[in-house]
Symmetry: C2
Subunit: 568 residues, 2 copies
């Protein structure tokens, strides 16, 4: 099961579709020259192909497990992690003053996609650390920055995110974990956290937990929550791992997939922690971390989908069956082609959207322009939900292309389905992403949405002369979406927005997909045009059905009773 | 994880939507009185709820396995199987002269759905036997009938289907298994078969394999294939299991799901078999068996979807989270309601379509009317593909509703996703179902399709006075589908049909779903109307996007190159 890093796509999208030149032209990211970009894609791609891709199936077959309270990771994961760390890939977008490379998030996004495609279970570890680095950069004291950031950026230590408690899943404000001042500037953290990804391992010298907890005077709800750094081993005066902290891995979950990644129940028993950000200001810092992670998780979906496509394509080119034309392989069957091309066209769209998102983040970082900030914020839930939905759909289609072989675990196709399934759930379920989009992200009266649609319309108008049919279809889709957006913005009752939130997010992604495919058709070769034609003619029309759903509001849903849902 | 038999739905659909009264009015099925129907639903439902539902998770956790060449089944499966057999549920539609009850396939379909919802892995065993019974009834000699049918119908013995070989999956004609005459009326069968569901067990006295093989003078391709009965133990002169046959289970597959069901590689080493049907006429007999099984597999998808819905609904009513209104449980959130109601409305549609299909089969059996035969044949691939697609979709939505809990195996939601995944693949992949629909099932110039659409239009016209909006939407959808059907029928190149086959089948199911929901709204209570409104306003519009896809033909797909599909 080899993996081929999708470098051709990255180069083309960066050069011709998502406007990376604008990022590279800023002072902040002046180092992101074409040479540097090429070197990054080539080097990271090579590591993913050679070193990490073989670990994927090993991680599934040899799950991370608990041995006398110590997490043991799958064979080869330690070496794989060291390759990622020593390559500098964890902290490539971290600030230079702490040892990072200060490179654009756009480039980190390309690398994260390749890492995900190569070995998703292992990649989740540095993804968590990247989120922690960003949270510390923005919110931690200088002392904490100095102690933790260099070691997190180098990968010597790794980071986790501790939000969820048994009674507080998506509703973080309901958490009960307590933080009490020790009187020396530190706090005693007590409580249980669940679903902690990579809560421990046997290859980093320390594990740094960012833990949400409530101070004695913290109000109920999210406004009374503070964030704490709680290391597994307390750094000594020289900053080296010292005394063991009062925390432990209680158990690891038995999951549908991602077996290589330990998911833990954590117990904090008066563990020593240090405040990150202001008292009762934990949610802001956690959102920094989560925003980063949401782009990252969307990218996980895309990476997995790409690997599933490559796996299915190889099978479809090899497997002889029936009266297929040409080579006699099943790829010659129209329906198999439909499945493969759907995977490819969807992945291409999702990849471009994730990179558009990352470009907006980089431009916001480089310019502080609120319009870029708003665009980044608007695109983040779309990248997360669409990227992971495509991850699930493409992986399932990959199984389907394999026929009976797809259901047999040895084939490897089923693992992608099992592994990627959690990505539509963690870092905020895709339903919550969609609710964020139609509520918070439309609080500007739809300004960020309309600006994006203006870009889509401009692109369609520019393409009119050379690609009239495709341009017209994209233009019309954008205008239909604009009307639906206007309808949503004008709904005073948020439930009327929430009822159609998921179909709206999907429709927005579909239209953005039309936009990037059209731009590719204009700038690219005959292959780009074929792919764009397939997407715009066959997949883009989905927005029509989705937007019909959006405009129904919530009244009919509110009227549904549990008895209506019961067939018994 | 309890299971509630969906008896309310069955009663309502039989009485008001799918026209079961017409079946019960025939001489052939005069025994299917309302009292008999009620007794069947109640008794089978009770067994499924009390006895079989608890076996589902046990089967997943204690997979069937091979012990010194003998298949060992999960704890409780033997008792569960005996309950199914002694209840008379295996042979309830088998002909009375062999010990069957001669009841309509419509009633078997209700029972099969309940068995599937209760314990899919176990239910697959009697489903295979039912197909074998029907094949023998239609094609076997009187001697074979006398020896095998009573024991298969009673469940003393069970049956399997042996089509697939490593090099011959969907392309059955490529098979290599040989049959050589022994000179005594029997044949020596030699070859390897794969993906044999329930190839062996430790609870029936014999296992009867129906095996496709080629006689020495058999032509290449499907026209040279014959069907053989190859029992595990050769019946002695009294018809009791005697000498061991030369066949063995080589290995069991390690599958994504359905762990309770042993899926075997079988080796036939000159095993003794007897011809079923004429020489070189094996495909016809196998199609009898497969047609039966395709309705059954569609029903498996629906049964699993129903169980996943019940599981998710219970969770959504129990789980408190966030600022939900009313009870404070997550079912009060609009997006959770959208997910649950989508599951419910889709399952209802799929269930009604399966019963329409079974009614057509029963009417064809009772009347020999070619129009009923054509309708049954047209609906079978739709039931199979739509039922199993809904199985996969609803199970995935069930996981999503559980949030992080959905990814943890102990919760049980993930098992439905893993178990049902194979149903879109076996008994002919859903792509092959769709190709069958647009090629073979439109060979009548679309007559069967247009007659169905006429019924949909008649239903819409009848509902116009009381439900004008819903009726208009269904009427319009039927007419759009009629145009697409006319377009398909007029395509001389089958590839132009195949390229849109899957979206066409889905669109047809969507429109039939609108038809049955509208009929329910007319005949039912306020709850039926709420569900119908949701389906027709929010889900039915999917047909628009799907039919746009259908009309694109195959040219753009044929032009796609493997390089277009590669991102590297």
């Amino acid at each position: 099961m080899p993996y081929h890093a999708p470098i051709r796509d990255f180069r083309f999208l960066l050069d011709h579709v998502v406007g990376f030149a604008e990022v590279a032209a800023t002072d902040r990211f002046a180092e992101a020259t074409p040479d540097m970009t090429n070197a990054i894609l080539t080097e990271a791609g090579k590591m993913c192909e050679d070193m990490l891709a073989p670990l994927n199936q090993i991680g599934d077959k040899h799950p991370a497990h608990l041995e006398n309270g110590v997490v043991r990771t799958p064979p080869g994961f330690a070496e794989g992690y060291r390759a990622i760390a020593t390559g500098g890939w964890i902290g490539m977008s971290a600030q230079a003053q702490n040892g990072g490379l200060g490179l654009p998030m756009t480039l980190t996004t390309t690398v994260n996609e390749m890492l995900s495609g190569a070995c998703l279970a292992l990649q989740l570890n540095p993804l968590m650390t990247q989120g922690q680095i960003e949270a510390l950069e923005h919110h931690a004291s200088d002392a904490i920055k100095a102690t933790y950031l260099p070691k997190l950026i180098s990968g010597e230590w790794c980071g986790t995110m501790n939000l969820t408690e048994p009674q507080a899943g998506s509703d973080v404000g309901a958490l009960r974990t307590k933080a009490e001042p020790n009187g020396d500037g530190s706090y005693a953290i007590t409580g249980q956290k669940i679903y902690i990804s990579w809560a421990d391992n046997d290859f980093t010298a320390n594990v740094c937990h960012l833990v949400l907890a409530r101070l004695p005077d913290g109000k109920p709800g999210t406004k009374g929550i503070s964030l704490f750094m709680v290391p597994k081993l307390i750094p000594d005066a020289d900053g080296n791992p010292g005394q063991k902290n009062d925390l432990r891995v209680v158990s690891l979950e038995h999951k549908m997939g991602l077996h290589g990644s330990p998911t833990a129940v954590m117990e904090y028993s008066g563990a020593t922690g240090w405040l990150v950000g202001p008292e009762h200001g934990g949610m802001a810092a956690m959102f920094t971390m989560m925003n980063n992670a949401r782009l990252g998780v969307g990218t996980q979906g895309i990476g997995t989908a790409e690997r599933a496509l490559q796996h299915a394509l190889a099978y479809a080119q090899d497997r002889k069956q029936g009266r297929a034309q040409g080579t006699g392989a099943i790829i010659e069957h129209a329906d198999v082609r439909r499945m493969l091309t759907t995977m490819r066209a969807d992945i291409y769209a999702a990849r471009a959207i994730a990179l558009m998102n990352a470009v907006a983040i980089d431009m916001a970082t480089a310019t502080d322009d609120p319009a870029w900030q708003a665009r980044a914020a608007f695109l983040t839930p779309i990248t997360k939900a669409f990227g992971t939905d495509i991850g699930v759909e493409a992986s399932n289609t990959g199984v389907q292309i394999h026929g009976g072989m797809g259901f047999i675990e040895e084939t490897g196709a089923a693992q992608f389905v099992r592994d990627v399934r959690v990505s539509t759930i963690y870092e905020g379920t895709n339903g919550i992403q969609a609710m964020d989009l139609v509520a918070r992200k439309l609080m500007d009266g739809g300004d960020a949405a309309f600006r994006l649609l203006d870009d889509v319309v401009r692109g369609a108008e520019a393409a009119k002369a050379t690609h009239p049919d495709l341009a017209h279809a994209v233009w019309e889709a954008a205008e239909t979406l604009r009307e639906a957006t206007e309808w949503l913005v004008s709904q005073p009752d948020l439930n009327d927005r929430f009822a159609g939130a998921v179909p709206y997010l999907r429709a927005f992604a579909r239209v953005l997909g039309g936009h990037v495919h059209l731009a590719s058709a204009v700038a690219g070769d005959a292959g780009h045009l074929r792919l764009a034609t397939f997407y715009i003619k066959r997949l883009l029309p989905e927005h029509i059905s989705l937007l019909a759903h959006v405009r129904e509001g919530a009244a009919d849903l509110a009227a549904i009773t549990p008895a209506d849902l019961a067939a018994a």
